[in-house]
Symmetry: C2
Subunit: 344 residues, 2 copies
């Protein structure tokens, strides 16, 4: 950040756009024209295009009291790339729209874009346009991502078949616990003036909340192993909700085993501290941006070899419903949380 | 609208999405998969893709006191399609993200989507996805549009050449005056309880503000006449601002004649009533969504034949600057209004 605050009024809209986009360079040969015209231009040479968009609003998806602007920029890209990877596609371009209130300076906007740039660089994506405007109240970020894939590689939610193995990547529940820790410390800070937040010991869950990653590595590993999942979805709303999406769209049921659901040690510790049940959090906590996918049972051996993938159950006939099986063999019906239930 | 108010909480997020998207059918063969997965899938078979996005925020871009929700939905699509047409491309898909505050019912959201659907139907565009979320305060709409074009037909802002004719479509300034009338009547209504707004006689300028159209017809006519503009931009921020974009990006100057700038009779009348100078409004008023483009002087005769196009001047050398020439031959330098200048 420069020492002198840059005022947006001084720069003007087009000056601001130049200021925030000056460090973005085009990385993909599919990008013909980036920022600076009525629209960007792309060329996919016969590949299929996937398109996804997410909107993040202040006070609902993030709290600027504990979400650094750079992290916010980074995360806003990740949530979109995660959707592209969930189609088994490679992200190529993003467009970024941002509505900012009067309290924002150009340096603050630059901080957001420095996070966006970091994500673009790490995931090899081109930022090719957007819209920059005022907002009467909070900050809103809306990103659309485009990706490419061969037609026979695209994974939808509707391809799961009976007996398929159900797999998840990484571990679940950490991002939600990170949020709970942040909310708790915010409350302490607000209630007791001068008490600094104590976040030590929670580094893992905080990072999962504040700087999530999208699982491009898994997409690469699946491709290397010549595996095309029969269905795939990213875990943004919680495992239960995503399982039900796949079951519903594929016209099947599912059976997952509670002791196979991957939960990090740090997540268990944080859950205990907060007084929450780790399994409930892993099932219903959102924002993990891990991948949930199904593969034919015949490739059991191949899928087991892929690091970072857990087999948590299998696909059943629709008539069998959607169940979580506990170690003592109890079957609990899987239900989705409601509208913004994760955030309650 | 149904008689019983549908509550969003009852429907849940996925119920709401089903509710608002149930009437959208896929129209373009380029659309492989629309709403309902992590991302939409498109296939452009060798054509170039253009991508554009716009974000509209309550209180800045629209006022729900006088902007009907259906019109808002319609207009939010138009502003994006206008950018696609300005690339000389055909719009194919849009994704729609919407952040709504707690005061919204499902029926209100449906009204917005009925406007979006009307625009999609009229312009033959597929709505293929989006994001629906909560907002703590105002309504925000963010739309991204994709279009296709042959590589040799795409029009950028940077192709204007010295001596090219400068053309605009339709007439200018009406949308801005429509807004002024609405603001005036809102003030009267707020100040004097019970006094109903008097909008008679202002139908044209109000329609230009509340239900603008994008100039697909001009794109078709140019294609029929085998004309590819050397540069093109849509007039969203005002003619002056757009002229300067073309001059800057093309490395040239421009000379436009004040008496050639198309202004509708209704716009002159409304300007007089409000006490504003019609020419100033035509130069600086935004949101007309007309097209500004340049063509080689050699096709003067062909371009004159196209109904709805006015030749307003010509491209000059960069050293000659950007000037407006009045009937008495005074040269006034063209300057752009500042950040949101139009919205003062």
């Amino acid at each position: 950040m420069s020492s002198k605050k840059k005022e947006i009024e001084e720069l003007g809209e087009f000056g601001l756009i130049e200021f925030i986009t000056r460090d973005f360079v085009v990385k993909n040969s599919t990008t013909i024209k980036g920022v600076g015209d009525d629209a960007a231009v792309a060329d996919y040479a016969g590949k299929k295009t996937v398109i996804t968009t997410d909107i993040l609003t202040e006070g609902i998806h993030f709290d600027l009291m504990y979400m650094p602007l750079k992290h916010l920029g980074y995360k806003s890209v990740i949530v979109n790339l995660s959707d592209v990877f969930a189609m088994n596609a490679k992200p190529q371009q993003i467009v970024v729209s941002i509505a900012i209130s009067a309290k924002f300076t150009a340096d603050m906007v630059e901080e957001i874009y420095s996070g966006i740039k970091l994500a673009c660089d790490y995931y090899n994506v081109d930022m090719v346009g957007g819209d920059t405007t005022s907002s009467l109240t909070g900050l809103t970020l809306c990103i659309t991502a485009l990706g490419i894939a061969d037609e026979d590689k695209i994974c939808y939610r509707n391809g799961a078949k009976q007996n398929d193995l159900i797999c998840v990547t990484g571990d679940l529940g950490a991002a939600y616990l990170g949020l709970q820790i942040l909310e708790r410390e915010k409350k302490v800070f607000n209630d007791s003036e001068g008490v600094q937040p104590d976040l030590s010991g929670f580094e893992y869950v905080l990072e999962r909340q504040l700087k999530p990653e999208a699982r491009h590595d898994i997409i690469d590993k699946l491709a290397e192993a010549n595996i095309v999942p029969t269905s795939m979805i990213d875990i943004s709303d919680g495992l239960s909700s995503e399982l039900l999406h796949i079951s519903h769209d594929s016209g099947c049921g599912c059976k997952v085993y509670s002791d196979r659901i991957p939960i990090a040690e740090e997540t268990r510790t944080a859950a205990e501290e907060i007084g929450l049940e780790p399994l409930t959090i892993a099932l219903n906590g959102g924002e993990d941006y891990e991948l949930l996918f199904t593969v034919p049972v015949e490739i059991h051996a191949e899928i087991e070899k892929i690091e970072g993938v857990s087999i948590i159950g299998h696909v059943t006939d629709k008539s069998e419903g959607n169940y979580l099986i506990t170690p003592n063999n109890a079957a609990i019906e899987i239900k989705a949380m409601g509208w913004d239930g994760v955030r309650k």
